[in-house]
Symmetry: D5
Amino acid sequence: MTDQRARRGSIIAIAEQRQNLASLDSSIIDRLPAYSAALFEAKTQKRLTFEAIAEHLGRSEVAVAALFYGQARASPEDVAKLHQLLGLSPESNLASQMTGFPDRGRAGPMPPVEPLIYRLYEIVQNYGYAFKAVMNEKFGDGIMSAICFNSKVEKEVDETGAAWVVITLKGKWLPFTRF
Amino acid sequence: MTDQRARRGSIIAIAEQRQNLASLDSSIIDRLPAYSAALFEAKTQKRLTFEAIAEHLGRSEVAVAALFYGQARASPEDVAKLHQLLGLSPESNLASQMTGFPDRGRAGPMPPVEPLIYRLYEIVQNYGYAFKAVMNEKFGDGIMSAICFNSKVEKEVDETGAAWVVITLKGKWLPFTRF
Amino acid sequence: MTDQRARRGSIIAIAEQRQNLASLDSSIIDRLPAYSAALFEAKTQKRLTFEAIAEHLGRSEVAVAALFYGQARASPEDVAKLHQLLGLSPESNLASQMTGFPDRGRAGPMPPVEPLIYRLYEIVQNYGYAFKAVMNEKFGDGIMSAICFNSKVEKEVDETGAAWVVITLKGKWLPFTRF
Amino acid sequence: MTDQRARRGSIIAIAEQRQNLASLDSSIIDRLPAYSAALFEAKTQKRLTFEAIAEHLGRSEVAVAALFYGQARASPEDVAKLHQLLGLSPESNLASQMTGFPDRGRAGPMPPVEPLIYRLYEIVQNYGYAFKAVMNEKFGDGIMSAICFNSKVEKEVDETGAAWVVITLKGKWLPFTRF
Amino acid sequence: MTDQRARRGSIIAIAEQRQNLASLDSSIIDRLPAYSAALFEAKTQKRLTFEAIAEHLGRSEVAVAALFYGQARASPEDVAKLHQLLGLSPESNLASQMTGFPDRGRAGPMPPVEPLIYRLYEIVQNYGYAFKAVMNEKFGDGIMSAICFNSKVEKEVDETGAAWVVITLKGKWLPFTRF
Amino acid sequence: MTDQRARRGSIIAIAEQRQNLASLDSSIIDRLPAYSAALFEAKTQKRLTFEAIAEHLGRSEVAVAALFYGQARASPEDVAKLHQLLGLSPESNLASQMTGFPDRGRAGPMPPVEPLIYRLYEIVQNYGYAFKAVMNEKFGDGIMSAICFNSKVEKEVDETGAAWVVITLKGKWLPFTRF
Amino acid sequence: MTDQRARRGSIIAIAEQRQNLASLDSSIIDRLPAYSAALFEAKTQKRLTFEAIAEHLGRSEVAVAALFYGQARASPEDVAKLHQLLGLSPESNLASQMTGFPDRGRAGPMPPVEPLIYRLYEIVQNYGYAFKAVMNEKFGDGIMSAICFNSKVEKEVDETGAAWVVITLKGKWLPFTRF
Amino acid sequence: MTDQRARRGSIIAIAEQRQNLASLDSSIIDRLPAYSAALFEAKTQKRLTFEAIAEHLGRSEVAVAALFYGQARASPEDVAKLHQLLGLSPESNLASQMTGFPDRGRAGPMPPVEPLIYRLYEIVQNYGYAFKAVMNEKFGDGIMSAICFNSKVEKEVDETGAAWVVITLKGKWLPFTRF
Amino acid sequence: MTDQRARRGSIIAIAEQRQNLASLDSSIIDRLPAYSAALFEAKTQKRLTFEAIAEHLGRSEVAVAALFYGQARASPEDVAKLHQLLGLSPESNLASQMTGFPDRGRAGPMPPVEPLIYRLYEIVQNYGYAFKAVMNEKFGDGIMSAICFNSKVEKEVDETGAAWVVITLKGKWLPFTRF
Amino acid sequence: MTDQRARRGSIIAIAEQRQNLASLDSSIIDRLPAYSAALFEAKTQKRLTFEAIAEHLGRSEVAVAALFYGQARASPEDVAKLHQLLGLSPESNLASQMTGFPDRGRAGPMPPVEPLIYRLYEIVQNYGYAFKAVMNEKFGDGIMSAICFNSKVEKEVDETGAAWVVITLKGKWLPFTRF
């Protein structure tokens, strides 16, 4: 086997191992807290999916991904488990950073320019009033909380073999206070 | 019983009957197609919830509310059933309007100023990248369709008696074409 | 006494009676629900302050003013009492309108251009992070609800005779759900 | 006890000590004056809450947090006490920086994307005209000053054990000059 | 056959006849020249597709649709043929309006909120630089004209029976003048 | 030959070799992923057009340019071939970066300020509704996918010798789901 | 004298009488309170300058113009004098409108598009920090009030006969409260 | 005297010396030309007010502050005097920078977020049309120049001891050319 | 000759007569002063070009078109001549409207969406700094006035028969005042 | 002669030599391609005006200034002549950068904040529709190209000695294609 082909093979091998592992686009780093880059780098090195990490932490995949993007707060146990799983140096100050109160909402521009995220935005744009009308009839005057809230993403395959994404958004109903 | 109290009683009666019936805020009418106002007025008169209408049409509540807000297209059967249920005049040109191709997306401003709709927007803002990362790992490079898509809103009551909203967003997975 | 002076006197009289009665600037009407104009007109005719109306309804002044601006929902009792107090015709359809679910947040532009409202906006702009930091330390990771919320405005006069406005914002603390 | 568990324990210990200590999200540093980072770092090291610092300075918690975010000016006494309390080097030029005139208002984007700060913005958006109407009736034509102003945040616990945030905004009333 | 079913049948009939006939969403009328509404109404009455009209005028479908939306100028022959085909009154002043110089570009908001139009916008957003790089290499320094330009939309069905849209954009290459 | 003229000649030579080779404007680098700069630099060094690279990769020119701008994902084979063709060091971590999931849509501002890209935007602005109307009549209620999508750029020369750009946009038709 | 010339003469006469009388551009009416149009119309009819009206009211020209544009509140005496001077019908409800609390700040767009108003905006844009620095040195940490404020416009003619505008802005100094 | 108190005393001393000396907020540096930071640093070191510098240069305080913020051009004499007064190294290239043509208008965001600058903006927002109307009546159709312009800031103390800011804006009147 | 063809012929005739006569797009009317519509209507009726009107008024075509769009002020002589030329009723109040002070700058949106106007905007966007640099070198520190300004549009035909537009912008140079 | 005066004299000398030489404001560098800074620095060192450089290159001043700001592409000959004239090192990679395809339109913000550039923008804002109307009448339906375009800036002095700027914009007329 020639050198050339060997090299090419090894590059493919590296690339394939990374298939379907979410990593951090380098152009977004400045908008995220410093620990995001460190976490994503370790995740890439260890070749861990969010599913695997979530299982280790006993949390939801969406919550763990949000934590990596600086949109959720880690508990001390989360930090300890992440150190262990990702092999982070105990001397790093990730622990103190990740248990701080996140400055949420700045990861990406709004309206979103990323096609996947835009589709979610479009759902709010097109169906926002429909959701409001249906919730008002089911619950009265109030809102669905985005704080007292959880979410999950699941995969379904229909009879034709096509894949469907199922996102569940679950938030506590908060009625407007009468005062 | 005095006149005064009688009058007051009848006003309360009217108002109570309307409790938890979504109607159309008059200041939003200009942004919606002309048939929206007609449909909402008939719905108010008939005291019908979206749940009731949806059952009659064999469609989802969210889809029916979207149709009322001009965000979905009615089939000829939908139109016929709505005429019947809402008691619309067959001479009205609602049929031709409602089966036109909707000019979607203009019902409300973005970012939303309505608190209930804002919470949905906030979920996209805070968890957008998390959803993307999790979907990319589960499905590869692509998006969840907002077109080949359906949605529902359900109510859950937890053990403490508190109400929770559960929104399900289900969209077909569309992988980016390699070209 | 001349006619001229008499006429002038009566105009002053009319104007003085209206001193410090909030009315509706005609250029804002289009952004509000139709019942806003009707309510404000009756309020002006009856020369009622929000304080007087609030007392009659057993609600807060701020809540009543918000209701007039289409930012809060009236209960059937509120509607009945408003009809009585403002002398509204029982045939008007105010009852059904006011007990609908408000489409909140569109009364004025943001950033506000009204100097009084801008000052409140400026407080959020300048002290927003300070409020966040203090709340995070006092309560943990979460938000103060603007839904499960009430507010009041009070007047204080200091030792120099100068008037101070005291606004109290009281909202339930909602911790972020761990999921 | 194994090494592994010991390490995990110490990370949890570090993290727990930081529970509910507001720190500075690293992605916001560029928008703040240089001394902000220095002050927050020292605060984290010394494990001081804003409550503790405020008590030492004889100032309000909100004011002290605002000072850390570059939104308020420190007096020479404030600077001296902060040096002492935070153990800052007297050679640092924090003194000269902190007593400069702050370039206020640039800490975060408006509309806010941080959920906690957004709720305050939403209160202005929804209740702005209500506050204006009530103040106009109570005080006449003018504004509540955001300069000749103070604020505090308090915690209340209701009979069900639920925590409530109480924010008090107190500003001098400034009537429009007649000219 | 009962009356009820007869009525329902006729409504379905009307609606079906209109299937896949583009009409004008009533909420967009104000942004278009006055003749747009007249043209679309006649088109709906006559049940004509843009394909049929284009054939009659000897023009492209896209151009004819653009003309209906006030984005292209009609020649006197176009006007005469449209009068004939759509049965417009010769007394109407459509002729003078349609041969005026259009005030282009105001039909819809940008970024588009309509999902179909947004997808075209997204193509520009994602592939804009790619198009530029490829054109620069193929043609040098310049632009593709959007004025000396034509376009068509075609339908293709692939081997699986799935439909594909093929849009062709053809514009003259304009090199930057050296001066 | 003098030194002066020799130097001038060699500069012209260098510059001419680069004629019509798309390179990366240095002021745009920050908005792109880190590998963009590396790829463009190698492309410039090797004097390769996108046409040549596309042929080597067996992909479309537009797709390859999009990949260079961080708007498309590379397969492991793409990465291997690019390494070989561009002579990239196998030790670089380009492989892992390029096979990540791109954070699309941030390469340039919208509305575009680049004249070439603006013309494409203007086509959407002026003809957006025309495209929608024609597609709706040809396909029904739905959208042309920008994900299940491909595109090419071709050159045509007309009888007068003038060059025309022909862009083909081909996307799968996605009908709105009825639910 | 022919008819033609007579007519032309009378039109010139009408127009000349109106030279340098500020009137209301009809396209701005919707953004102003209803009484603005009535006041301006009467002012035009009576051919009164703001200088003349200001003298009659004992107020500043700028304040009176602001009052006409709905940016200031009239006292009962102002209203009475305006009725008398402008010959307004005592039955009109201008009195009650003009003594309401103005909804300030919406007369024109910001940034201003009117060249005269833009120049004032540009002064703030270019010299804003210079004004801040000079005021901070002269007064300490605070602001110049725009509420406890008055202004005047004067004309000066220099030695070359050129006219200069002199605007005086005078506002109370408000120091930031220490809290 | 203890060390502690001595250190605290000296910090107070440093801070007090800087009272009411405008300096440069470090977070604004990137928006200003490079010489701004150098000038402000020297000004701080030498403890010079703008009043003192202006006197030395024979210019207005506002102009000198504008020059420090990169909003005005220095003459060669200004540069020489500044070198002398501020003790700048003659080797620095400040001379060539400061006599360049400023790129004005980018010092701060518009609308301003700094409360002091916002008040000036608010004056334009509220009184813009009033200024226009008064100027039009006094001068005809034209504008007050912001180029052929000067300005000063003065302090007045009223009978109650309260301080007032008096800003004078003086610009040449430019009538619109008739063509 | 059949009726059909006769009718078609007359429509073409009407349309051709209007070829290259600028008229007013009906969707822009609301943004312009009321007299704009009246003037354009009369211009269309009389089939007058701006060139013809300009000659009659002894003014520039651009100035006359600007006057029709409410962007310039008419002199009494202009008004008299326009009445005569356009056959306007002397009873109309156009005279008083047109000699008012225009509220300039609101005819169209910025950035422009009209392709012709966008090209002018693009010239400012691309060459703005080049114009500034060249003017600064030719004239010093200042601006070209847009008030003391005139403009003309001319047609040139080159040797190949191609038409070129030549716009001349001529404005007085205004140096920044030293103060 | 004292040292002091000598030093001051030499600084004035340096500054005067730079009078009316356009240089690059350091705060704008990030928005321009890397070669801009290098070119401007060499221009400043050599004390060359754009007029001198343009003469050497046989191009227009405006084009050369645009090239310095990264808004135009250099030919190999331009690059060679610039190297010679500006004394640039042949080893620099300016040649390859400057002959790349510029990423136009990002030099400054729009709306412009620079007063000189704003005046040009204001001309488009105020006279845009007038230019369109006049061009449509002179040329038909189309646009003036900003690509097939050139421009020059000239100085005129009127009889009073006042300087006027004359900008000529010349673009090819492009009629809309009929399709």
